[in-house]
């Protein structure tokens, strides 16, 4: 019994290490774009992976699981983040400014799409009707580009 547990836990560790190298930068990039705060992004990406390690086993869809956990952690930190965003976005590039101007749901949807998430997973993660994900995405992309153009226009 002990040998089985030991073997199982070692193989989990190995699988976690492989997953870390495949997912950390993707998770960090998603959180970085979402928050505009690289330190917070790195911290939340680590915390998400810490939670996965403490879980002791890999979920069926580790990438979707990690994104969901990261989003929940971000929501918990949101009040602090929103206060900071007002400070850090001054003078940042137009993509950052445009992202900050999107409604939260559109921003999250756009960023999940950029990470290649399926419509089903996006709908589940953001509690949306799956049948309207494409329409919402088209709207989010259009709004993002308009905000980018507005940020680029010196007038």
């Amino acid at each position: 019994m002990t040998a089985t547990v030991s073997h199982s836990s070692r193989s989990f560790h190995d699988r976690f290490v492989a997953l870390f190298y495949g997912q950390f930068h993707r998770l960090n990039r998603f959180l970085d774009r979402l928050s505009g705060d690289p330190e917070l992004a790195a911290d939340l990406a680590q915390k998400s992976l810490v939670k996965l390690y403490q879980r002791g086993s890999l979920p069926g869809r580790p990438d979707a699981w990690l994104i969901t956990v990261a989003l929940n952690l971000f929501r918990n930190a949101r009040s602090t983040v929103s206060r900071r965003q007002r400070l850090v976005t001054v003078g940042r590039d137009r993509a950052r400014l445009a992202l900050d101007q999107l409604p939260e749901r559109e921003r999250q949807l756009l960023l999940l799409m950029a990470e290649g998430m399926s419509y089903h997973d996006m709908a589940t993660t953001l509690e949306l009707n799956e049948a309207s994900v494409g329409t919402l995405l088209a709207r989010a992309k259009r709004a993002f580009r308009e905000h980018c153009d507005a940020a680029f226009d010196p007038s």
Binding site: N28, Q54, T80, D93, L99, L111, T135
Partner: protein
């Protein structure tokens, strides 16, 4: 069956992302004959390419985090949790033993604790308005705002503050010897230490964005993001003298 109307946003996006499952044959046949929809699809693809390129502009350089650091953090938290649980069990055991003694003060404390625990639990409260401790107490825990100041009202004749940064979520100030009066709000914690000779332990959450510690109008410690500036030697445990002279 041929699509009789042009593709809408939902259909275009699903086609782009290979999420289109309903009658793909009819969609393809429509695209073969409808130049307007083909142009719309090409435009949507171009727009997506531009959006992805613009998003990449917002990226910061990725951090250099090793998997060993994450694993160690996960294991450390587990150990901390076990220590807290063990400490709690020990405290309950000691309280039970003390309660058995006739006339014990512990009985009164336990009664008060039991009365508090029977209240209906409410949501976690983050102090947003000033809250003053009614009498000198041993410590206080608050969730710090984006920019938070811990203010010791006066320099002391003797005493020091020991500061550590941890993975927790609360900023804790505890008088290790003696007591003090604390007043807190969302951006400030005032320690009324006038005439005190107490030593203090201060725990700052690593997630706190900016925390300053001041003695009167003298700034002795600043945590700004991950950067720490202090009068004390950097060692993980920062020992800051509360006396008038900088040590």
């Amino acid at each position: 069956m041929l699509h009789s109307t042009h593709l809408d946003d939902e259909q275009v996006q699903r086609f782009l992302h290979q999420e289109y499952t309903a009658q793909p044959g009819s969609l393809l046949r429509h695209l073969e004959v409808c130049g307007e929809c083909r142009a719309g699809l090409t435009g949507a693809q171009r727009e997506e390419d531009e959006v992805l390129a613009l998003l990449a502009q917002a990226d910061h350089a990725p951090p250099n985090i090793e998997v060993a650091v994450v694993v160690a953090r996960a294991r450390r938290r587990r150990v901390i949790w076990i220590r807290w649980a063990a400490g709690g069990l020990l405290a309950v055991g000691l309280a039970g033993a003390a309660d058995a003694a006739a006339g014990s003060l512990v009985r009164g404390w336990m009664s008060a604790l039991a009365a508090r625990s029977t209240r209906t639990p409410g949501p976690e409260v983050v102090p947003s308005a000033p809250v003053a401790a009614v009498s000198p107490i041993g410590g206080i825990a608050v969730v710090p705002g984006a920019s938070f100041v811990v203010l010791f009202q006066d320099a002391q004749r003797v005493g020091e503050a020991r500061v550590v940064v941890t993975d927790g979520t609360e900023l804790v100030v505890r008088a290790r010897s003696g007591a003090a009066t604390f007043t807190s709000s969302s951006d400030r914690l005032v320690v009324d230490n006038r005439g005190s000779t107490a030593d203090f332990d201060i725990t700052i959450p690593s997630g706190a964005i900016r925390v300053e510690i001041r003695i009167g109008d003298r700034r002795v410690f600043v945590k700004d993001g991950t950067r720490i500036t202090t009068v004390a030697p950097a060692s993980g445990l920062y020992r800051i003298g509360l006396t008038r002279r900088i040590p």
